[in-house]
């Protein structure tokens, strides 16, 4: 049994200060082309080397360190190129990768690996490659996303593509934000960094740099990521144990909830319409409407958590506060700016784009979690937390679209709030300050 609290052998280090040059942002894709060519050739060489590594480990149980270092250096370079391409970092990387890049990897290779697990590495890696494909952080990994998508049938490709855009979608939004403000939003940067870090773990595992199975737990992949204060907060008190019987029939058991959620949703949309006019006139959503809409948003989280195995128990039908172990707390109505209310539907477009990409990841979490929970009676913590982070984002996006708050959803895949004083610090953090939360290597 692996120690789940031990440091990850492949972990990301982010010292990026969020500042961006508009000119290099504008031409980012073109500027990255030379690196993409080099990293592709480097990737072919690394893949060839990993075959030798595979043979060495399967025969001797030990990998030649020089070969492992070669693959590890490829991984680092790939991460740097990926970070540059996807706007998670500003400086132009050095060819072949160099030290001190603002988004970098720390790698502790495992020369001694289990022969059995190495022999079936390609099969064992399929779930993590699927997740990597859904996250889409491997655009320069020669290409993990492409690999996972192409190996599967049309349906899988569509799932992978739907969520596969999560890093791409974040980079796309970040491109506009960086051009407009000269600075990339922290949430988007952290989301991209998470996707890159997870994909690096997946590729490192596939290419035998380590035999540690990748984790998708945001709090482990991106331990520094914190949630700023927000009127919609995730409440996660659920355990990881799952009843195999309820897991097996999960989709069918969720049908009554899905029907009820849809019916309630129709009424909720009418309520949103009324709330929109009320908020335009009074600057605030009336309490009764706010409660009604908030209950639907909470209920949608309960149903999503149940359906995708993120939560264990069968939820109630009213979305009551505190009634489900995977839920969201929603603050009472606050004053909202009329202009923001008036243009809400247009302002929500980026959140909706990211939300739809997140939905693809949540579906994949549900699918992989279904198999895992069916066989082990337990939901893997990493998948559960990734799914919970996705639900939190969806709830915040829904709350924004449906006028519960004018606070924009926070994109970083963090799960738990920091204590109140730390949230305050984040709130008060000067906009140009460098990120101080990086854990030391």
């Amino acid at each position: 049994m692996e120690d789940e609290t031990a440091p990850l052998p492949i972990r990301i280090v982010v010292t990026d200060d969020l500042e961006r040059s508009r000119v290099t942002v504008f031409f980012r894709l073109l500027l990255a082309i030379p690196h993409l060519i080099v990293v592709t050739l480097y990737g072919i060489a690394a893949a060839a080397v990993s075959i030798i590594l595979w043979l060495a480990i399967v025969i001797e149980g030990k990998a030649p360190e020089s070969l492992q270092s070669f693959v590890a250096s490829y991984l680092r370079y790939s991460v740097q190129v990926s970070a540059y391409l996807n706007l998670a970092a500003q400086p132009y990387p050095s060819f072949g990768g160099g030290d001190g890049y603002p988004v970098d990897l720390e790698i502790v290779p495992s020369p001694r690996q289990s022969r059995g697990r190495a022999a079936f590495r390609l099969v064992l890696a399929i779930p993590v490659l699927l997740v990597a494909a859904a996250l889409g952080g491997g655009s320069s990994f020669g290409n993990a996303s492409w690999f996972a998508s192409q190996r599967t049938d049309t349906e899988w490709t569509s799932v992978g593509w739907g969520g596969g855009g999560i890093v791409v979608a974040a980079a796309f939004l970040s491109w506009f934000a960086s051009l407009a403000r000269g600075r990339t939003p922290r949430g988007l940067r952290d989301l991209i960094a998470y996707g890159i870090a997870y994909t690096a773990q997946a590729v490192g595992y596939l290419l035998l740099v380590t035999d540690r199975y990748p984790t998708s737990d945001p709090s482990r992949v991106l331990p520094y990521a914190a949630l700023p204060a927000h009127p919609v907060r995730l409440e996660l008190t659920d355990g990881l144990e799952r009843s195999r019987l309820t897991v097996f029939f999960r989709l069918l058991l969720a049908i009554p909830h899905l029907i009820w959620l849809s019916l309630w949703g129709v009424l909720m949309l009418l309520a949103v319409l009324v709330a929109w006019f009320a908020a335009l006139v009074t600057g605030r959503v009336p309490l009764g409407l706010h409660r009604f809409i908030a209950a639907w948003v909470r209920y949608s989280v309960h149903v999503g958590a149940f359906l995708f195995i993120i939560g264990g128990p069968f939820p109630g039908f009213v979305g009551a506060d505190g009634s489900y172990p995977v839920s969201v707390a929603i603050d009472p109505p606050q004053q909202q700016r009329r202009a923001v209310t008036f243009f809400r539907i247009w302002l929500a477009i980026p959140a909706v784009i990211l939300g739809s990409a997140t939905t693809g990841v949540i579906w994949l979490v549900g699918l992989l979690g279904w198999w895992a929970a069916l066989f082990t009676g337990r939901m893997p913590e990493g998948l559960r937390n990734l799914g919970a982070a996705g639900l939190r984002y969806s709830a915040q996006a829904n709350a924004y679209v449906f006028l519960l708050t004018e606070r924009y959803p926070y994109a970083a895949p963090a799960v738990r709030d920091r204590p109140h004083d730390e949230q305050l610090e984040l709130e008060l953090e000067p906009p140009t300050a460098g990120f101080a939360g990086v854990e030391p290597a």
């Binding site: 019987l245 097996f248 264990g312 128990p313 069968f314 939820p315 109630g316």
Partner: protein
């Protein structure tokens, strides 16, 4: 159907052929065996679930009614799992005798939507019962039975509109025959449709659905693919129209109402020791009780159904005046379904919703005997 109609015994060997009868008996025996084993497994499962199922309540964060729904759905799910092997055996046997073309995986997992519909149905049923039981206490069974009859009647009415995979009958001659039979039986405006089942089965069938404005007759595509003569298909049409002209579907709802009231009362009494139907813990026991009630009422239900089918057969003969076609049809049915023309008495009493094929041939003969002197 005339009262006191005497059906003469039919020599099945000479009507259906000795070799065929032997084969049909063998085929039918297998299906009856799997049915019996399936029933034993079903009741054993429900008995265990009635004792231990309540523990799944800890898997629920919902209130009593929501938890009851969960327990109800899980019970159905377990029953589905337990019945799966027997169903697969039936599919294997049916494929072996060319009675179906459906694949094993397709049969087992190709009907999730229907299973989902069943899950939703039990949720609605439990919502009604548990809500009433929590509001009215032990008196729930009276309005509960009324509600179920209302739901049943509503479903029977809307069912024709839910049949999305049917197309209007294109054969003009058959269409005209159908209209003529409707006039002769004193009804009109009943549409005749065809359901394409060619990809799943080789058996032939037809049915009448709806009542009032929603009445409809549906023929399986296997009925009009050339396996049967036009005269035989006309007998089928007249039979199904006979169901409508005899108001069998509203009568069936009335029978259901008659059974629903005592059934609901028995359910109320049986679940009393678990706190009554207002408590989620009573749901697993309720599933067992409902299964027992259904089995106990099966002979009565089958008898009522057989009476209605006999009446429709007689109407078909009265309308078509073609006992030879009716006889040919029933012999043909035996061929396509490999049905035992004269099944064991217990199976007939408990399971058969139609008269045996031998009885149906006998009825055609009885009609011919009655009509000959009158004409002469």
């Amino acid at each position: 159907m005339p009262s006191g109609l005497h059906l003469a015994a039919v020599d099945t060997d000479s009507v259906f052929g000795k070799a065929f009868v032997r084969k049909a008996v063998r085929v039918e025996r297998f299906f009856l065996s799997t049915w019996l084993l399936g029933q034993i497994a079903l009741f054993a499962t429900l008995w265990i679930y009635s004792r231990r199922g309540a523990r799944f309540a800890r898997e629920s964060a919902a209130g009593p009614i929501g938890t009851g729904m969960l327990l109800g759905m899980l019970g159905l799910g377990i029953v589905w799992l337990v019945q799966l092997p027997f169903g697969l055996l039936d599919v294997w046997w049916a494929r072996r005798h060319d009675l179906t073309k459906v694949g094993y995986l397709d049969w087992a997992f190709g009907h999730w939507l229907e299973l989902g519909f069943t899950f939703v149905s039990i949720c609605v049923a439990l919502l009604v019962v548990m809500f009433l039981a929590r509001r009215l206490g032990e008196s729930w069974w009276i309005p509960g039975a009324v509600a179920f009859v209302a739901i049943g009647a509503t479903f029977a009415f809307v069912q024709p509109y839910l049949l999305s995979e049917t197309t209007p009958l294109k054969d003009r001659a058959l269409q005209r025959s159908g209209e003529k039979f409707q006039r002769e039986q004193g009804v009109s405006g009943i549409p005749i449709s065809v359901e394409d089942v060619s990809g799943t089965t080789s058996q032939a069938n037809a049915y009448a659905v709806g009542f009032g404005a929603s009445r409809k007759v549906v023929l399986w595509s296997t009925m009009i693919d050339g396996s049967f003569s036009d005269a035989e298909v006309r007998v089928v049409l007249a039979h199904e129209i006979g169901h409508h002209s005899s108001h069998h579907i509203p009568k069936g709802i009335a029978w259901f109402a008659l059974f629903a009231l005592p059934g609901a009362w028995v359910l109320m009494r049986a679940t009393r020791r678990r706190g009554g139907m207002g408590e989620a813990a009573a749901v697993p026991l309720a599933l067992l009780v409902v299964a027992v009630i259904q089995l106990a009422l099966a002979p009565a239900q089958a008898w009522i159904s057989r009476r209605m089918e006999s009446e429709a057969d007689w109407k078909a003969l009265q309308t078509t005046h073609d006992p030879a076609a009716a006889r040919g049809l029933f012999v043909g049915f035996a061929g396509t379904s490999l049905g035992d023309p004269d099944p064991p008495v217990w199976a007939h009493v408990l399971l058969d919703s139609h008269p045996t094929l031998a009885q149906r041939v006998a009825m055609a003969e009885a009609w011919r005997r009655r009509s000959v002197p009158r004409r002469g």
